[in-house]
């Protein structure tokens, strides 16, 4: 079976969940080969990659791969594409993952598909476009298919692979080193999962009413182990930091469960969350368009309903 290269997303030595999803997907299409870029791989990380199906684990441990923006990772993958002739390359459809995919596509003269929510036989990818209004099936017709797959597109399922490790040294070009990361600044984000990766997202909108009131949304999120999001109305009002905005111009999330509190569901917002598997809406306006999407809706004041829901979840744990 042909190799399918999977670029590993990792932080502080740990493999991110999206990579386990990609390995699960890759198993259905070929022989998964995980590609670890940067220093810091641990025995646990290797075991985890093998547990989810990696037959091969390419380890390129040079710090150069992460100390320069994107280009070195694309050079690493291009080198592996040339050496291993994989059937496809999968990356996570994060902002950076898509950039790596884009540069790799140019380098290898290959087509690229971004934001796939599914991938099937012949590497035909499913995409959801125009804010979830249109479903598209697309495929690459030149070169090695490069597909950026959205987090939460598939549930990670363990099935052991051989996990054979191979060290890779990559000869980086000067231009790949042109943009140097000179400092990494970690901003306080607490223990909550990353927004685009989270299995559950709880978002607040105009109905929340103030920055202080966002604690109601945060408490519900914490009771579910969820990430917190916000509508543009809420971020524009300064009630919640801009990087948590879900929508057309913000983050796109595709979680198992999305809870929208005090969000009307304007098209701008729907573009960022419409592919969520289950949607729950709480809004005092029974005419709010968010109810058209909701699997379950409560017409009522979020300041009453949300705290009650949080208490109830804590009680039932």
């Amino acid at each position: 079976m042909s190799e399918i290269l999977v670029l590993v997303e990792h932080a502080e030595g740990e493999v991110k969940k999206v990579t386990l999803e990609l390995l699960t997907l890759a198993r259905t299409l070929g022989s998964p080969a995980a590609v670890w870029a940067g220093p810091g791989i641990t025995a646990e990380a290797k075991a985890r990659l093998a547990e989810y199906g990696a037959d091969k684990i390419y380890v390129a441990g040079s710090a150069d791969l992460v100390d320069h923006v994107v280009a070195p990772k694309a050079e690493l993958l291009a080198q592996l594409v040339a050496a291993a002739s994989p059937a496809a390359v999968l990356v996570a459809a994060t902002a950076e993952g898509k950039e790596v995919a884009g540069r790799l596509a140019v380098k290898t003269d290959s087509g690229v598909i971004t934001d796939a929510v599914g991938l099937g036989e012949g590497f035909v990818a499913d995409q959801s476009i125009f804010g979830g209004g249109v479903n598209v099936r697309a495929k690459v017709r030149r070169g090695t298919p490069i597909v950026a797959v959205r987090p939460n597109s598939t549930a990670p399922v363990a099935a052991a692979g051989a996990g054979v490790e191979e060290e890779v040294t990559v000869a980086l070009s000067d231009s790949a080193r042109a943009a140097r990361v000179v400092e990494r600044v970690k901003q306080e984000k607490g223990a909550r999962p990353e927004l685009t990766e989270a299995a559950i997202v709880v978002s607040g909108g105009r109905g929340v009413g103030s920055a202080e009131n966002f604690s109601v949304i945060e408490e519900l999120a914490d009771s579910l182990g969820a990430a917190v999001g916000a509508s543009r109305a809420a971020t524009d009002a300064g009630w919640y930091p801009h990087q948590f905005q879900v929508g057309q111009t913000g983050k796109t999330v595709s979680p198992q469960l999305y809870i929208a509190a005090g969000i009307s569901g304007a098209i701008q917002h729907r573009a960022g969350m419409q592919t969520a598997k289950t949607i729950v809406a709480i809004n005092k306006d029974p005419e709010a368009p968010i109810f058209e999407l909701a699997d379950y809706g409560v017409v009522g004041d979020l300041h009453q309903v949300v705290p009650q829901l949080t208490d109830e979840i804590k009680k039932r744990k």
């Binding site: 923006v69 994107v70 140019v106 971004t114 943009a179 600044v185 109810f291 017409v299 009522g300």
Partner: protein
């Protein structure tokens, strides 16, 4: 400093957007064309850098004739001149073709800094800036929420999921900016009037040494196999809160095994 800001005309996100049934490409006539919202931040950033460091801001747009509306808006905001790459042969170009064609123009017109919005609201691939950096061999300074130029050096803050990276490079460079990096100015009446007299150079592919075999629908590296309107989500249950709305919602979450 010679700054080129890339601006795309996109269908208004508040209207219904469609694909064409004949060739599976975006139906640009079905909706009003507007400036890609994220590009307004790029134009503003270009203007601020020009105000601080001097130089000239050139708008670069690839798109059909009607994209001139978008060019005028960027000129009205304060850009000095524009280059409009417009050719029927470009119709249906994917990101690879688009980056190739734009890189050819950029090589021809020259630049110290290319600035783009982080993505377009129609295709939303978010790859163009990275592809341009690759094709131009220029440093990739993308997803910036802060840009500082000092002589021939440039530093940005690149937004990451944990915060940001401070990234340094030397000019010439390719920058993409994220939403809210600045407050895009509204064109003044004076700006709108002045924009009508600013030079717009229209280029066909032959004017920029663009190989017709590398652009357009026929050259696309990827293709839409088919598409369909998303089936409407099955109607859910909506209840009115009678003092037990939270309990009801919890029951629903329990039935779906979320709790």
């Amino acid at each position: 400093m010679n700054i080129v800001v890339c601006v795309k005309q996109v269908p208004d996100t508040s209207t219904e957007r469609k694909l064409r049934s004949d060739d599976n490409t975006l139906d640009r006539d079905a909706a009003d064309g507007v400036v890609n919202e994220l590009d307004e931040y790029a134009v503003e950033e270009a203007l601020k850098l020009k105000e601080a460091h001097g130089g000239e801001v050139t708008v670069l747009t690839m798109g059909p004739a009607k994209a001139t509306e978008t060019i005028r808006k960027a000129l009205a905001m304060g850009a000095d001149k524009a280059v409009h790459l417009s050719d029927d042969a470009l119709h249906g170009s994917d990101a690879l073709s688009t980056s190739y064609a734009m890189a050819q123009v950029l090589k021809q017109i020259g630049f110290d800094l290319v600035i783009l919005g982080s993505e377009s609201t129609d295709a939303r691939t978010g790859v163009l800036a990275a592809m341009l950096a690759e094709r131009l061999g220029a440093p990739q300074l993308t997803l910036a929420n802060k840009v500082e130029v000092d002589g021939s050096g440039i530093t940005i803050q690149r937004v990451t999921d944990y915060g940001f990276d401070r990234v340094e490079a030397s000019l010439p460079a390719v920058v993409s900016v994220v939403e809210k990096i600045n407050d895009p100015r509204y064109p003044s009446f004076k700006g709108i009037m002045a924009a009508k007299k600013k030079p717009v150079q229209t280029l066909a592919i032959g004017d920029a040494a663009i190989d017709p075999a590398q652009v357009g629908l026929g050259a696309a590296w990827s293709e839409v196999v088919d598409f369909a309107a998303a089936p409407p989500r099955a109607a859910g249950t909506v209840v009115k809160d009678e003092g037990d709305g939270g309990v009801n919602a919890a029951d629903f979450l329990a039935s779906k095994k979320f709790i």
